[in-house]
Subunit: 644 residues, 2 copies
């Protein structure tokens, strides 16, 4: 078959592909990130690129004629038919995601360590034992493993010891290279110590990798297990994004495409391995020195990571293959660390309450609290846990990825070029925005969207049902192709040369998302017959949570109207829980307990959720009694909201 070269601008990356390859696939092969939400169906229109030169064929290129005339094309629906030069516009670029790991604000070294352990003593998943062995002789000719095990038993008489194939394959040379003076890295489950690695006695530390495998981003932390310290953290976007932005489109890809599951598994692994490689290089740690990994992800991500079909997670009655994952080794999973390293995957509670939530619950110590705590994680989905030391109940609502920018005309993830704060002058309807990276804006991310909704409502440009009020919007409110739209930034100010707008459709999408989260919280409370005020503490988790302006989130009816001092930001609790397990194996037992103990509230059973959801599709809600502080403000007619 004829092969052609495709050149991607502005990075000037070239790749040779067979004729007929879509530009989206060519970009994926070339490692050039191009956005795509619909899995290449031609419907999400996020993969718009510009063909600068060369021959392509298009199939169902549904862009307006004016755009097509300028060379714009849907990458997924455009096929290579000759040498081609393609420009990826900023809004279609899948650039590195700002991954929030460290808590914001000053955190003392000492405090951070204490936080990570949740008050537990350090008892790491793996530890090193240093031994001096007698070399074998003709009369003392036991096998290498027998010799090593004997020495281990003399040092720890109460334990037995085992070794797996990959560690055994290294053993003979390892012992002799070390001249029989070795550092043995062990992990213990039950009373059997498993030998992972045999290194020279003076080999450097013992390291573990904590991973938060999110639908959108993958974050990892490298942990020194001997010192109990986080050496470094890093993140990247999940390479699965090219098969669809949200969980459902990935499940469909896994189920309907031949090799789909395999592709998604490989993409998840590639994401983790890449972020781990960067982290290891930065910290000057060799892959074989990393002797344990703990992975937290939602149920679908955990399934895809392990090659388990997610098909029945999507279909009623929503059944995962498993809630608890077997103890695995890096070699069978495919992680590029020591092949014999144990890999623990956090247990799930149900199809839509996964290991990331169990990890977050572990880290935030809900199960130890005398107070009633609500834990809310708003990511691609919205999950929440309510409980205390006696009981835990969780639910998940399909909030959708609107707060991550998906399904929103100019939506984008929280990365460079995203509008993250919006101010609107109620008198003039003029707008001021704050952009991540202080560059020209190319889109708007979740926190910007919440700000925009709150400010538009406050300025009276949006009514309570989410309709635009033409008489209030000034010159920025106009009629677009699909109804009214509000211009947040004029094309002269943006990085794309196009206006950044919020449409009526976008507002409806956002209302559905925020309504789902609020209805989820209400459903938990109603099921337990508890008033909103019974909540003593609300912990907000997720990368998203760090940007969230609580007042604005309450004002649009996303979060309950409770005293602001009850709110806490906990950051990436999924990753932090994984770090905790690396440093304290007792935490793993607790995680298993949490997974088993937590009650799952299936919101699709009965009418409770649906009724709450319909009531929450307003700004902020049909029942204003639920928002006392808001009523007070409104009554006073004040405009003194704590602003941006």
């Amino acid at each position: 078959m004829q092969q052609y070269t495709v050149t991607f601008l502005p990075d000037n990356i070239r790749i040779t592909v067979p004729a007929g390859t879509s530009l989206l696939e060519a970009a994926a092969w070339a490692g050039v990130g191009v956005k795509s939400t619909c899995g290449g169906q031609g419907t999400c229109k996020r993969c718009i690129v510009r063909v600068k030169d060369g021959h392509v064929t298009a199939e169902g290129n549904s862009l307006p004629a004016t755009m097509r005339a300028k060379g714009y094309a849907l990458a997924c629906r455009t096929q290579v038919a000759g040498q081609v030069t393609v420009e990826i516009p900023p809004e279609a670029r899948l650039v590195e995601h700002r991954v929030l790991l460290r808590d914001e604000g000053p955190a003392a070294e000492g405090k951070e360590k204490e936080d990570l352990l949740g008050g537990r003593p350090i008892r790491p998943l793996c530890e090193a034992v240093r031994l001096r062995l007698d070399p074998p002789t003709l009369t003392e000719n036991a096998s290498d493993w027998h010799r090593l095990r004997g020495a281990l038993r003399r040092q720890r008489p109460d334990e037995d010891f085992a070794i797996g194939l990959s560690a055994l394959q290294e053993l003979a040379e390892g012992l002799r290279r070390a001249d029989w003076q070795v550092k043995v890295v062990l992990t213990s489950f039950n009373t059997t110590g498993q030998v992972i690695r045999v290194a020279p006695a003076d080999a450097p530390g013992v390291y573990g990798l904590a991973v938060d495998l999110g639908t959108t981003t993958v974050a990892a932390a490298l942990v020194d297990l001997e010192r109990g310290e986080v050496l470094g953290q890093g993140g990247t976007y999940n390479r699965q994004a090219r098969f669809g932005d949200d969980i459902i489109s990935r499940i469909i890809h896994a189920d309907t495409k031949e090799e789909g599951l395999h592709e998604l598994r490989k993409a998840a692994l590639a994401s983790i391995n890449e972020v781990a490689a960067d982290l290891l290089a930065k910290c000057r740690v060799a892959p074989e020195e990393v002797v344990a990994a703990v992975v937290a992800g939602n149920t679908t991500m955990s399934h895809l990571f392990l090659g388990l079909t997610p098909k029945y997670i999507r279909l009623q009655p929503y059944i995962p293959t498993t809630a608890e994952y077997p103890l695995l080794r890096a070699s069978e999973v495919g992680l590029n660390i020591h092949p014999a390293a144990p890999v623990l995957v956090f247990p799930s509670v149900a199809s839509y309450v996964g290991g990331d939530i169990v990890s977050g619950t572990l880290f935030t110590r809900l199960g130890h609290s005398d107070e009633l705590v609500l834990f809310v994680d708003i990511g691609t989905n919205g999950e929440m846990v309510l409980g205390n030391r006696e009981w835990l109940m969780a639910c998940a609502c399909s909030a959708g990825p609107a707060f991550e920018g998906a399904g929103i005309t100019c939506g984008m993830r929280a990365m460079e070029g995203a509008i993250e704060r919006v101010e609107i002058d109620p008198a003039t309807s003029e707008v001021r925005v704050k952009v991540i990276g202080n560059t020209r804006p190319v889109g708007i991310c979740g926190s910007g969207l919440i700000d925009a909704l709150a400010k538009l409502r406050r300025a009276g440009i949006l009514d309570r049902m989410g309709n635009f009020m033409p008489e209030k919007g000034g010159r920025r409110l106009r009629r677009g192709e699909e109804g009214y739209e509000f211009v947040l930034a004029w094309k002269e100010e943006t990085g794309t040369g196009k206006d950044i707008v919020l449409t009526e459709g976008d507002v409806k999408n956002l209302l559905r998302s925020k309504g789902a989260v609020f209805a989820g919280i209400r459903s938990l409370l109603k099921t337990l017959d508890l008033p909103q005020e019974a909540i003593d503490k609300i912990v907000i988790a997720g990368g998203f949570g760090n940007y969230l302006n609580i007042d604005n989130a309450v004002e649009i009816g996303l979060l309950p109207d409770l005293p602001r001092e009850k709110y806490r930001f906990a950051g990436n609790t999924s990753l932090k829980g994984a770090v905790q397990v690396l440093l304290c194996r007792d935490a793993w037992e607790e995680a298993l307990e949490i997974g088993r103990k937590m009650t799952y509230l299936e919101l699709s059973v009965g009418n409770l959720f649906m009724e709450e959801f319909v009531s929450a599709l307003f700004l902020p809600h049909t029942d204003l009694e639920l928002f006392p502080s808001l009523i007070g403000e409104r009554k006073g007619g004040s405009n003194s909201w704590p602003g941006v």
Copy 2:
């Protein structure tokens, strides 16, 4: 690089290889079996082929000029330099080995089953449990694994259950395809049942694979674990043979060639997978229905099979990586059966007393005997165990592969065309031979060599020191290039068109081999301060053993001169012990016990073995008192030996 086609006759198989490839390598790539003992060093001269046409270059082709003139060449030292046609003569062809599995003589069905179990009750390594599960609903929405484990626990309240990754990957579809009525295949170690496979309730049997991984041959048996029956047996030669015939040349290959260990591992796997595939096809069993494997091999074979370096097995003080192998899964080992199937590898005792001997000891129930039993396995090496229910002592002597035909001018393995019986008329020195397959002879195998030595000695053609007596040999004894040689078959009678001879050098080789075995037996007895007569029973194992004429073996001083009724042939005890473990998991515990309990006598320590060896380099021995029956016969001057 220039590529050329090599055509191998008589099979007319073609392969394209780069210029410079040796004919031996080309044959290996083409799957054409060519003998080679020295690992391609040009020294064993077993890979002589005939270049019929085309261009080759030769490097150190040490064949006589007369042969070279006829196109004969060492395949390992001859490189492709153009299109070539090569004929593989019968004596250089590596054809299928006659693998002896079934005991000779009539064995009743019932008796065979009892024999295989050694009186134990059937308690197979894996078993099937049939379950009817309730399909999940929105309110009964536990994960698939949780549902299955719950049902298993209800049926067996005292056990816990676990599942590994590969079984988990099949679980969701498996349960639904079976419409929730399943056959669960489990294996139990400790009190945890490991789920291997979930199949529809009406799926056929539960099968296991027993493997004897020999240096020369690989034998396997397919066992129905539910019925306790051997369904079929098969064998092939070990594909590692192309890297050298004996253990030492394979260890050197593994150690000195890049990828050498990997090549040997792959060859062992290919051999097992091929014999298993044939067996499965013959018995109409699908690979995923085979849910357990038990492998018995000598220490080096077990190491190579698992990718463990055998380097230190060869070097003083002869240390294997391990004597006990971890419980493995088929997927990590590379066996083409169910990926989650457990694979048990028999433990070794020492570097040269391996799992095949432990398996044989298990099967022959030495450890249960009140009598003193000597177990002798003469294969590529000679291993022996002496003991009873109270103690077991083993040793290994480097008997060398002479009795397998290696290192003998016209030696070959026991396969079609091999002389297996020899008669010599003492009066005329004329010879009658019996050939395997009743074809024209192409060489002579172990049992034929023992016969030949015994008959040549009896006819006075060989003296006690193994020298030919020119005055006695008649026209068949002549001077060859390297001293005297005796013609067993004239070229007009053979399949090679060349005389089949036994040279003075061959006789010395055979004396060394038989002397080593006898010295090993003597060393065991002397170490334990026991007279030869203390032995109550001698069990002869190995494919070789089945052909052995005891009288002749005693006459040449290979085996001790004890009443013939004390001798037993046990066949392939290595394979039979593996079958026993498949059918009875208690036998596995016993195998581990045997491995730990058996005392290893290292013959290279001290002078004991060497002194015994020197005394045993005669026909039959320096000490004729050890051979009373022989003295009696000699004294009587009778020629009434039980002949062929």
